[in-house]
């Protein structure tokens, strides 16, 4: 074999696995707890996107719309051992009851233990394992090894009733890194987050040696296609290990099964919470979740109306990056630079395009392919300095006020719910829209407000402190609305929700857990929250008022007891007689007393009077 060829092979092999290893933290696999969540997340995002796309297609074709239905299962599978010789890792072994799997130098083999013994043979290595009443021991080529217990493995299974995938496309979608990337599209979608389901497949392969099992049925097929897919890491090519047919519970849809190493946690950074939050912002989806405890939890849809389909828009010069602009120029089929600017960008008129091209000293008729990078850069700079119209903002797909309120009500069973949707705005040429909601009381526990963050309908669970959503949330002075505040966070049984929908969410980093603080974004969030709490404080003040009212009405009953006691002594009459007279008086005067208490409340109720002054000078002064 040609030496260069040999080298090239290695280079490629290095590039895929090394790419993964080097970028673990960016891809969401930096620890085993997060890895488990990331794999679930990738699959769920894909499923939701696919289901919605299907629904929108059905709407267009005036067909009956099938609403998203997604099942997520997380099942603990095997014990996981590191086989160690001294200090070097030799191999890895997974044990599930009697099933033993050994991974050695990128190869894996599975066998059943018989009579407390099992052995494996790889090229030069012969492993044998014994189980002596639950005590495991390992030998390699006759010498004793140590077994170190690792994080266990989990089976994750995600099933949807989406359109299904053509059998010919299954291998590429699940078995080729960076396939079918959506990142060029200027369109709101969960996909912008995703580094792809294939990285989950690769992670499974690297940690348990198991391939991905995919089931997919398209409407016209009788049964679902089953494929076991893995990535050939040397060639970055999909490999189909097994192919067949299986039954599928839906007319169409996809299911993926992965076995991966992971650590399951409950709580605010675990899968349970992720599923719960996902359900809140996907009101048209029904999600079933079966966690390690094998209990099935259902998050039922609250609307049969799919969210509006987001439309793709052309890039607006304000937010255009030079690299993408160069690519647009290179790939364009337009004849001249001017027509590229007019037809492939947003809000650039012919006269603006011509003025701009002339201003940097280029011929308006120059072919787009002939523009070099430096020229492209000066054109872009010139365009960005022009006073262009803002991009159209009807391309976004918000969750919807009514839907948010319904979901919050269903999830938290609160006493009060309110959601607010701001009008779309633009940061750096990118349309975005803020939605907020708050739930108060009822079954909500806790003394401090909780904040749920979302970007393009995806829950953000990590990096809370560096996120613009958190910072804006903490930037509102809640005490102005009569709320008690501790460390900037309002106290009480409260859940706040902030969602940013955008064709391009500005994440602070590749890990996509936090939104960057653009002033206009921060401002929009604050305005939305202010409106929200203004409304809520009216409710709280009313509630407080009726509480005070009851308390004060009762005041007379209570002091009446003492009055009867003292007065009876003072006039030498039986206490009970006096008490009856006082009770009669209270009954007779009930209406009058209520009116009086009501009047005193209107002057002393702190929150309500505070509210009035707040309404007088609204917060829009901050603009």
């Amino acid at each position: 074999m040609e030496i260069a060829e040999e080298l090239a092979k290695n280079q490629r092999a290095i590039s895929v696995t090394e790419f993964f290893e080097k970028n673990r933290h960016l891809l969401g696999f930096d620890n085993k707890q997060k890895a488990l969540l990331t794999c679930v997340k990738e699959a769920v995002d894909n499923s939701l996107d696919a289901c919605e796309e299907l629904g929108h297609m059905q709407e267009k074709r005036k067909q009956e719309v099938s609403l998203p239905e997604i099942t997520v299962e997380v099942k603990p599978m095997s014990d996981n051992y590191q086989i160690v010789d001294g200090k070097t890792n030799v191999a890895q072994m997974l044990v599930r009851k009697n099933d033993y799997t050994v991974m050695y130098r990128g190869k894996s083999d599975s066998k059943q233990m018989k009579g407390g013994k099992v052995s494996f043979k790889f090229d030069d290595a012969a492993f044998s394992f014994t189980d002596n009443n639950g005590k495991l021991a390992a030998m390699l080529n006759g010498s004793q090894l140590t077994l170190k217990k690792n994080a266990p493995t989990f089976l994750i299974r995600i099933r949807d009733n989406g359109p299904g995938i053509l059998p010919s496309k299954i291998p590429d979608i699940f078995g080729r890194m960076l396939y079918g990337s959506k990142f060029q599209a200027m369109k709101q979608g969960r996909g912008q987050q995703g580094i792809g389901i294939h990285s989950a497949v690769l992670y499974s392969q690297l940690t348990t040696g198991k391939s991905a099992k995919v089931l997919s049925k398209i409407a016209s097929a009788k049964r679902a296609t089953m494929m076991r897919v893995q990535i050939n890491i040397l060639k970055n090519e999909p490999e189909v290990l097994e192919k067949g047919e299986e039954d599928f519970p839906y007319e169409h849809g996809t299911q993926i099964e992965l076995e991966i190493e992971g650590i399951y946690v409950s709580g605010s950074k675990g899968i349970d919470e992720y599923i719960k939050r996902t359900s809140i912002v996907n009101p048209a989806a029904t999600i079933y979740y079966i966690g390690p405890d094998e209990e099935k939890v259902t998050f039922k849809r609250v609307t049969t109306q799919l969210p509006k389909e987001p439309s793709a828009i052309k890039p607006h010069p304000q937010g255009l990056e030079i690299g993408i602009f160069v690519r647009i120029l290179k790939n364009s089929t337009e004849r001249s630079l001017v027509s590229v600017l007019v037809n492939e960008l947003s809000r650039v008129s012919r006269s603006v395009a011509e003025t701009t091209v002339k201003s940097v000293g280029l011929d308006p008729k120059i072919k787009p392919a002939d523009v070099d990078r430096a020229q492209a850069n000066s054109i872009l700079k010139a365009l960005q300095s022009m006073d262009l119209m803002r991009p159209q903002t009807d391309c976004l797909s918000p969750i919807g006020v009514e839907e948010l309120e319904k979901r919050m009500r269903q999830e938290f069973k609160p006493e009060y719910v309110k959601a607010i949707s701001r009008k779309p705005e633009v940061y750096r040429g990118m349309p975005f829209q803020i939605e907020t909601a708050v739930a108060y009381g009822g079954e909500i526990k806790g003394e401090k407000a909780a904040l749920l963050r979302f970007a393009n309908k995806i829950p953000l669970l990590f990096d809370s402190a560096s996120c613009a959503l958190t910072q804006s949330f903490l930037g509102v002075d809640y005490s102005r609305y009569g709320m008690k505040v501790e460390n900037k966070v309002p106290t009480g049984p409260l859940v706040f929700l902030v969602h940013i929908a955008s064709v391009w969410v500005p994440y602070t980093s590749e890990s996509k857990n936090a939104v960057a603080s653009y002033p206009i974004i921060t401002k929009e969030i604050k305005l939305a929250l202010q409106e929200l709490v203004r409304d809520m404080s009216k409710f709280l003040s009313k509630k407080h008022r009726s509480h005070l009212f009851e308390e004060r009405i009762n005041l007379f009953d209570k002091y009446g007891i003492e009055l009867a006691f003292s007065l009876s002594k003072l006039i030498g009459t039986d206490e009970k007689t006096v008490q009856k007279k006082i009770e009669a008086l209270l009954n007779k005067k009930r209406e009058e007393v209520e009116e009086h208490v009501n009047e005193t409340l209107s002057t002393t109720d702190v929150i309500s009077s505070k509210m009035e002054s707040d309404n007088g000078n609204s917060d829009e002064g901050e603009q």
Partner: protein
């Protein structure tokens, strides 16, 4: 006999209040009682009598009123306690009255009173409503202060010689109505706001040397002391001289003894002593006795109190007092009586007082 009769009247007045309330309740009326409004707004200075009197302002206190209900009930509770005391011929102190009324209303989390200031107020209210003094209600202020002098009195059968009371002197009871004077050998009375100065003068036997009675309180003069001063003045023609720190608070102690107090303006007839004269410590004394080293700078509270008192009608009528207050304001500092001890422990007895008396250097 007279005592008994008075007691009966008090009981009638007090239970009359209760009967009135009960009648209102029975007829389905929101029960109420009227009492003179307290505070500067309802106080008048009578130029003729030279004392403060209560104005005609009345406030009506209702049971069925969020802002009144607590005080209303406290006042009735106090009336019931007072009635029991009078009936049984016993007396109780302000402190003890508080403890007797302090209880939780059954089945609630409300205590009838939380703090002694509430019972103190309730007693004052009861006095205003019934026009009876707290002594007539059988509630005594704590005994306070000290007196010494060549005087023999009889108090409920006990004979007391004020010249033989040792270093502590005789403590003045809150009720001095029943005190009878057996012998008085004194030409005048000096009242001082400070116990420390009284101790000094008692040790110096100043009352013997100057042939006078010395009386001290601790801060504001109690009602017992004020009534005693009034009786000594009215019944035995003894001039009363007042000695306080050289500050605005001392001026108000003088004002209370002389004209009556704002909160108890209704009792001025029985307590105020318009004949009382201010002996010191005056602003001129600071200059004359070279006390400048002992000045204490005014704080904000001193300044604001000075401004209040400057605007009291009864001070405004006195040119000399306005001059004195002007000097005090200009100085912007105060000086305590104790400053004299720096000139020698007995400087006050041996120099200051004799000179004052000789020169008749009093403010009126």
């Amino acid at each position: 006999m007279a005592e008994k009769q008075k007691g009966k009247n008090s009981i009638e007045i007090i239970s009359g209040l209760g009967k009135n309330l009960y009648a209102q309740i029975s007829s389905g009326e929101n029960p109420y009682f009227d009492l003179p409004t307290r505070g500067l707004a309802n106080v008048k200075y009578s130029e003729e009598k030279r004392i403060l009197t209560m104005g005609s302002g009345l406030s009506r206190r209702y049971f069925l009123n969020v802002g009144h209900v607590r005080k209303f009930v406290q006042t009735v509770a106090m009336a019931a306690l007072s009635k029991e005391l009078i009936e049984s011929g016993k007396h109780t102190s302000l402190r003890s009255a508080f403890y007797q009324i302090r209880r939780t209303i059954p089945g609630t989390k409300i205590d009838v009173v939380d703090d002694q200031s509430e019972t103190n107020k309730a007693i004052e209210d009861l006095e205003l409503i019934t026009d009876l003094t707290r002594e007539q209600l059988h509630i005594n202020a704590n005994k306070a202060g000290a007196v010494a002098g060549n005087v023999i009195v009889e108090d409920r059968g006990d004979v007391i010689d004020w010249s033989k009371m040792g270093s502590g002197g005789w403590a003045i009871p809150s009720n001095v109505e029943d005190l009878s004077f057996k012998k008085i050998d004194a030409k005048f009375v000096i009242y001082m706001e400070k116990q420390t100065i009284w101790d000094r003068m008692n040790e110096d036997k100043a009352w013997k040397k100057l042939n006078c009675i010395i009386i001290a309180s601790q801060g504001q003069a109690t009602r017992g002391i004020r009534r005693l001063l009034q009786r000594l003045s009215r019944e035995h023609n003894l001039p009363v001289y007042i000695l306080t720190d050289g500050d605005i608070w001392g001026v108000y102690i003088y004002s209370t003894i002389k004209f009556g107090s704002i909160t108890l303006a209704s009792a001025s007839d029985k307590l105020a002593l318009p004949e009382a004269k201010f002996m010191g410590l005056t602003m001129d004394d600071i200059e004359k006795y070279d006390l400048k080293r002992h000045l204490i700078k005014f704080k904000d509270v001193d300044v604001s109190r000075l401004n209040q008192i400057k605007n009291y009608e009864w001070f405004k009528k006195s040119k000399r007092w306005m001059e004195e207050l002007g000097k005090m304001e200009k100085l912007g500092a105060k000086v305590e009586l104790d400053a004299f001890t720096a000139k020698g422990l007995s400087f006050m007895t041996e120099h200051y007082l004799p000179e004052k008396l000789r020169e008749k250097d009093f403010l009126d």
